[in-house]
Symmetry: C2
Subunit: 210 residues, 2 copies
């Protein structure tokens, strides 16, 4: 085993350090967040900071980087109050990754990377038609994280669109069947294989394998 | 494809809804967070809400559930200002899952589930010796999320301990070699396989496969 202190990490070259710290937290969901501005101009970006906040109410958060680095998604969410989160599978991984390029605000990343806008009548933001699991959120709150000028954007789930047969009889979603990818660090994409589902754990009682 | 609205989701039975909403965000890191209280009594719990906040400074967050449901970890972090996050691999997955049982505060989950405390001289919280990737954090801030009484606990990375040969030449951590697991929903554990690393994306320039 290696022991590395923060004093060592601080001496590292910027990109080396960013790769290391981004990987340290482990595998994460990777999704396309789609928005529109007040004029209806779509925007699409890759985010790997989506986090479950609670199920009742159904609240989901994501971290938006500082405004100077990543203004479009958060600006559009402030303007419209609505956004969609769309899972990524291997067939669209390269297009999804390309949407992380810094396009000018007037460019429609859907068109640029070759993905398709899909709309519901009551949701102003587009979904990614190709995505197997996607959901629309209504903005609840933007919490500034003052220590590094990032933001926790909190939304409530409004509409879910997903491929048939993913929902198991207890509400579990077999996302490996949708080929939803995980990511690692800033640039790596992973497929997954189920190891096990374990039953609810109680003290002094062996749990079931589901 | 299926379209499910929040009005339908709200009618679902509590555990069915929780499974569904927990799965919706996708795969996530799953880790053991270890703490001690002011008397040095260890506590261990499973968390799948760890999120990268930034690399410089190296800030990492996790969501702590409401105090009534999950008081021990956050109470200990408030008391000592220090905690460790420890990756889980298949060999220790069952023990890790068992640590999610609601043990009384005076019970040492390390002993109960069969994992080993490991200490650094300058870190009051224990690491999980068996874990292949683990890091100690110093508390920066606890941000209350008022909409559902959860908390975003923000810490800065202080010490990292990891298995040899995981760090690639650009700082990337090949966590599949450490067998770090991902999780899904409240009870599923997944292994991963690398699909690809994609180079930095720029408009109108094909990115490299790393």
């Amino acid at each position: 085993m290696q022991h590395i202190t923060i004093d060592t990490i601080k001496t590292w070259e910027r990109f080396y350090r960013a790769n290391f710290i981004n990987c340290l937290t482990g595998f994460k969901a990777v999704s396309l967040i789609a928005t529109v501005n007040a004029d209806g101009q779509p925007n699409l970006g890759v985010f790997s900071s989506v986090v479950h906040l609670g199920s009742d109410p159904a609240l989901i958060g994501f971290i938006n980087r500082p405004l100077a680095a990543a203004p479009h998604t958060i600006d559009n969410i402030k303007a419209t109050g609505v956004y969609t989160i769309n899972h990524i599978h291997p067939t669209i991984a390269a297009q999804a990754h390309q949407s992380s390029a810094k396009y000018p605000v007037e460019v429609n990343e859907f068109t640029e990377v070759g993905l398709t806008e899909m709309y519901l009548p009551n949701v102003v933001a587009p979904f990614v038609q190709e995505s197997n699991v996607k959901y629309a959120l209504s903005l609840v709150e933007i919490v500034p994280i003052t220590h590094n000028n990032t933001f926790l954007v909190i939304g409530k789930v409004m509409d879910v669109i997903l491929a048939d047969n993913l929902i198991k009889n207890d509400g579990f979603l077999a996302l490996e069947q949708a080929e939803s990818l995980a990511s690692l660090g800033v640039d790596a994409y992973y497929t997954t294989q189920k190891l096990a589902r374990f039953g609810y754990a109680k003290p002094d009682v062996p749990f079931a394998k589901l």
